[in-house]
Every structure is written in structure tokens, then in C-alpha cells.
């Protein structure tokens, strides 16, 4: 209860502000519609209203407030419209239907999970290399940082085309883009984690004359587990973004990214917003799952207190 109450209050405040914001955001369209329907509004003429402040218009035409919350393609859809759309496209539709967000969510999720797996494995391998080889440490790290300054949306189509030309299609190209985004936090976290044991703990193993392998398995790896989970939580969210970005240049036929994009082609703001929320909910679920795994693992390792 102590946890939930503040969240509920904050959400309630946000929803209230959201409703308030809908009025000025949508007032221009509402007035134009009303004018077309023959209702008198002040002032008359869309061109006249064009540069007028939205709040001023809203105050001048209180009669149209209701209309701002019930438009087909509003600038800002009202919360209940988004919720209704979410409800309609998840619960009301069969999960196999193309109009079901669960179906599209699943498509995105499968690329996300594959990409996340690839990214995590690549990240761990790279981190192990960096920790064990000075040459790799010095050469790879700066470029790993630089790689994250490249806008993924720009190279995603190229990745798709290049992979396409060597015959790789379908899930894998999307997964690779998603892996590109998720490997970085894993590398950074794992390098930190693998280096986290202090000098004394390494010295201890030296007095046992333990090999590099033993040091890795018995000290570095277990010590890095908390760091790994912390970066996995960042990584899975990045994977999801990557999978969505990857959907755009693959024809955007299926998946949440495709929903976002087609929603945007046809100006279907309600559809965009519901896809956005679906994505955020999916991200929250994925992060929560990892957090759950983290808690269980750490507890088993005696690290969860």
C-alpha cells in the first residue's frame, strides 16, 4: 500500500493534466469541425484562428470542450480513447488476428528476445576478452563507445539490405539490430563486474596458485552477477527499441513498430498512442521479469539481503 498509493496519486494527477491538455491541443480541429457543422464559434474562419493561442480559443469556446475529447484523429487523444483502443485491440480481438496488439507484441517480442540473447552473449564474450587482454581493452573500448553514437535508424536499412544480399531474412536481421543496441550496456556492466573483485580477493587465489580459468569461474564470474543483472535490465529495454527500429526497414509489416509507423502514415493518433503504451507496458514487463530473476538468483547466491 505504501508503495502503491503515491504512484496512484501521481498517475491520477497526470491523467487529470492530460485531460486538461486535450482541450487546447485539440481545440483548433474541434472548432473547425463545429464550424463545418454549422455551429457558431468565435472567431469565425480557420485561417483567422490559425495563429491564435489555443488556450485563448479554448476559453472563448467552452461549448466545444466536449468535442476535443472525442475526435477521430486528435492531436492529443484523451486517456479514455487510448485505453478503449488498448482494450479493443488486446482483449476484444483474437490473439491471432492482425488487428490484435498481442499478436504484434509477440512478433516484436520474438525479435527482441533473440536480439537480446545475441547481444548478451556478444557483450559477455567481448567483456571477457577485454578483461583478459590488454590489447583488446585498449583498442575495443573507445570504438564500442563510438559505435553507440551512430544513429541506429540510419544504418538499420543498410544492415537489412546487406544481410538480405547474403540471404539472411526474417527474424535475424531485426534481432541483429536489436543486439546492436543491447550489447553495449552488457559490455560496460560486465567489464565493471568482472573487474569488481578487489586486489585482495585476487591475491587470495594467487596464494592458492589458481589458474586464470579458475579465477574466472570462481571469482570474476560470481562477482559480476549483480552487475550483469543491472545491465541486463538496461539491455532488454534497448533490445525492444532495437527490434522496433528494425521493423521499420523490413517493410514494417508486423509488430509494434509497424503499428507505430502505419499509425503515423494515416495520422491515426489513437493507434500510435496505444501502440506506444503497449510498448512501454511490454518493456515494463520484461524489466520486471529480469528483476525477478535477479532477485531469485541473488538470493540463491546469498547476495540478496
Amino acid at each position: 500500500m505504501r508503495q502503491v498509493f503515491p504512484v496512484v496519486v501521481v498517475v491520477a494527477v497526470i491523467v487529470a493534466l492530460w485531460y486538461l491538455a486535450c482541450v487546447p491541443m485539440n481545440i483548433h480541429t474541434a472548432l473547425t469541425d463545429a464550424e463545418r457543422a454549422g455551429v457558431a464559434v468565435t472567431p469565425e474562419g480557420a485561417a483567422v484562428r490559425r495563429d491564435m493561442s489555443a488556450i485563448g480559443l479554448a476559453l472563448a469556446n467552452p461549448g466545444q470542450w466536449g468535442d476535443t475529447l472525442a475526435q477521430d484523429k486528435p492531436r492529443l487523444p484523451a486517456p479514455h480513447q487510448v485505453v478503449a483502443e488498448l482494450w479493443d485491440t488486446t482483449v476484444e480481438k483474437k490473439v491471432t488476428s492482425k488487428r490484435s496488439l498481442i499478436y504484434h507484441g509477440w512478433v516484436t517480442l520474438s525479435a527482441t528476445l533473440l536480439g537480446f540473447a545475441i547481444g548478451t552473449v556478444a557483450g559477455i564474450v567481448l567483456a571477457v576478452g577485454i578483461v583478459h587482454s590488454r590489447a583488446m581493452d585498449m583498442s575495443v573500448m573507445p570504438w564500442a563507445i563510438a559505435s553507440q553514437t551512430i544513429p541506429i535508424l540510419a544504418i538499420a536499412p543498410m544492415i537489412i539490405v546487406v544481410l538480405n544480399s547474403v540471404g539472411v531474412q526474417g527474424l535475424v536481421p531485426k534481432a541483429i539490430i536489436s543486439a546492436y543496441l543491447s550489447f553495449f550496456p552488457v559490455v560496460v556492466g560486465m567489464v565493471k563486474g568482472l573487474r569488481s573483485p578487489d586486489a585482495m580477493q585476487f591475491d587470495l587465489l594467487r596464494t592458492y596458485s589458481a589458474s586464470r580459468g579458475e579465477t574466472f569461474w570462481k571469482l570474476r564470474l560470481p562477482a559480476s552477477v549483480p552487475y550483469l543483472f543491472a545491465s541486463l535490465k538496461v539491455g532488454i529495454a534497448a533490445s525492444l527499441v532495437g527490434a522496433i527500429v528494425g521493423e521499420l526497414p523490413t517493410g514494417a509489416v508486423r509488430g509494434l513498430g509497424a503499428r507505430l509507423l502505419t499509425g503515423s502514415y494515416y495520422g491515426q493518433t489513437i493507434q500510435i498512442w496505444s501502440a506506444l503504451f503497449a510498448t512501454a507496458i511490454l518493456a515494463a514487463i520484461l524489466v520486471a521479469l529480469i528483476a525477478g530473476m535477479e532477485r531469485a538468483t541473488l538470493r540463491r547466491m546469498g547476495l540478496g539481503r
Binding site: 596464494t207 571469482l219 562477482a223
Partner: protein, 268 residues
């Protein structure tokens, strides 16, 4: 600085240092951590190292355990180089902090060196049981380190160093973080263990009473550069009840150690 101090009685020394130098290269120029250190430690000796902070006590212990490489002089352990001795697993090393791995239980921590050294599963179990008894921790094997008090953790770490029966036990301020009463108790236990097993022990401490109470010899060091200023042989019997510390002989040695220390001490 001092003459070579030969251990009387025992044959070949277990640890023999001759003109040992160690200089660290740092950004602020070289630091002479050890300079011309000569010392022999015989089998079954209990040698304490005492001296102000930064005088090279830890460094010397680390040289013996082959955790640092001297930049001059010679150092042999059982006639081998320290590194060979390390590979032969001659050392049990107890660090200042307990340094238990938090993701392993107490028993798991003690098993760690045994796993690395390839003891069989059955033998591992048996040895863990034995050393846990030795340090009075029966029944705590399944607990994680953080579920134990500092004193108990330190005992577990000693148990870990004892588990594989190394001949030489090196202890770097093992009781530094404990309160006086617990410390007294562990001192007593350590003495008992030493007389029972006859191990050779190198022991670093900041406490004069502790050094005097435990050792057969007390090595007083002084810094910049780190060197041995005095080696005091203790005439106390091997059997030492706690209240031996109120006897005049004890106070006499303690006084000598304090004087030696003060001589080499420049505040900070």
C-alpha cells in the same frame, strides 16, 4: 641496518631473506618499501612484524608469498623461490579483512582452496568439518558471511587458510578490526592452534601487547625506506595464559618494543 639474525637451534631456515630490496615505481617517483632486509625464520617460529604505518610489513609478507617480486636481494622459502613455493601451495594467507566471498557459504568459502587444489569431494567435506571445529564454528557452515559477526568471519577466514594444511601461515593484521575482548579470545585460540600444529607463522600487527603475547620473535620495522630496526626474542614460555600480560617479563618486553618503535617513528 641490523646484523643478520640467525635463528638459534633450528637447522636450515624455512624463510631466508638476504639484502631484500623492493622499490615501487609510482607517479611521484620511486617508493622504497623495503631496503636491505635480512631475516631468517625457522621452522615452527611465530614471528610478529610491528612498525608504523607504511613501513613495509605488508610488503614483506607479500614478498614471501610471491605476491610481490623483490627488486633486489634474495629470498628463499624451503630452499625454493617464493614463486615455486607458491605453486607448491606452501602458504596459507590471512588478509586483514576476512575477505570471504559473499556468494559462498562459510563451508563453501573454506572449500574454495580445496576445490582449486583438487581435493576429492569426500576429503573436502571432512576437512571443512575439521577446521570449522578448530575455530569454534561448528554449525555455521551453511550460513552466508554476512549472517556472521566480524569476529566469526575472521575465524572463518583463518579456517580457510588452515584447511589445506600449508606449512607456512602468513597473517596480515587479522584481528585489526575486532574489539579487545574478541581479540583476546582469538589470540588465545591462535596460540593453541599454533602449539598443536607446529606451523611456521608470520604475523603483522599494530598492537604491542598482541605481538608480545603471541610471538617467539618480534621484528620491529621502521619506514622510509622500510627496514628492520630491531629483532626481539621473547623469553616467554610457549604456554601462555592471558594474564601473563600482567607479569613484569611481559611488560619488560612490551616496553622494549615500544622503545624500538618510538625510535623509528616519525609522525606521518
Amino acid at each position: 641496518m641490523t646484523e643478520v639474525t640467525e635463528t638459534a637451534g633450528t637447522a636450515a631456515p624455512v624463510i631466508a631473506a638476504r639484502g631484500l630490496d623492493l622499490t615501487f615505481q609510482t607517479n611521484d617517483g620511486p617508493v622504497h618499501a623495503l631496503k636491505g632486509v635480512d631475516l631468517d625464520i625457522g621452522k615452527g617460529d611465530f614471528v610478529s612484524f610491528i612498525g608504523p604505518s607504511g613501513c613495509g610489513k605488508t610488503t614483506f609478507l607479500r614478498c614471501i608469498a610471491a605476491l610481490e617480486t623483490p627488486t633486489g636481494g634474495t629470498l628463499t622459502v624451503n630452499g625454493m623461490t617464493p614463486d615455486e613455493a607458491r605453486r607448491a601451495r606452501a602458504y596459507g594467507y590471512v588478509f586483514q579483512a576476512a575477505g570471504l566471498y559473499p556468494w559462498r557459504t562459510i563451508a563453501g568459502n573454506i572449500k574454495l582452496p580445496l576445490e582449486i587444489m583438487g581435493f576429492s569431494r569426500a576429503e573436502r567435506e571432512e576437512r571443512v568439518k575439521k577446521v570449522l571445529e578448530l575455530v569454534d564454528l561448528e554449525g555455521f557452515g551453511g550460513k552466508f558471511p554476512w549472517q556472521l559477526s566480524g569476529g566469526m568471519q575472521q575465524r572463518a577466514s583463518i579456517a580457510r587458510a588452515l584447511s589445506f594444511d600449508a606449512d607456512i601461515l602468513l597473517m596480515d593484521e587479522p584481528f585489526g578490526a575486532l574489539d579487545e575482548i574478541v581479540r583476546d579470545h582469538l589470540n588465545e585460540e591462535l596460540l593453541k592452534l599454533w602449539s598443536r600444529t607446529g606451523k611456521t607463522i608470520g604475523f603483522v600487527t599494530h598492537s604491542i601487547p598482541e605481538a608480545v603475547y603471541l610471538s617467539t620473535r618480534i621484528v620491529v620495522m621502521s619506514p622510509r625506506p622500510g627496514r628492520i630496526t630491531d629483532v626481539i626474542e621473547s623469553p616467554l614460555p610457549r604456554e601462555r595464559p592471558l594474564d601473563i600480560r600482567d607479569t613484569p617479563e611481559f611488560l619488560e618486553i612490551a616496553h622494549r618494543v615500544r622503545e624500538g618503535l618510538r625510535a623509528g617513528h616519525a609522525y606521518d
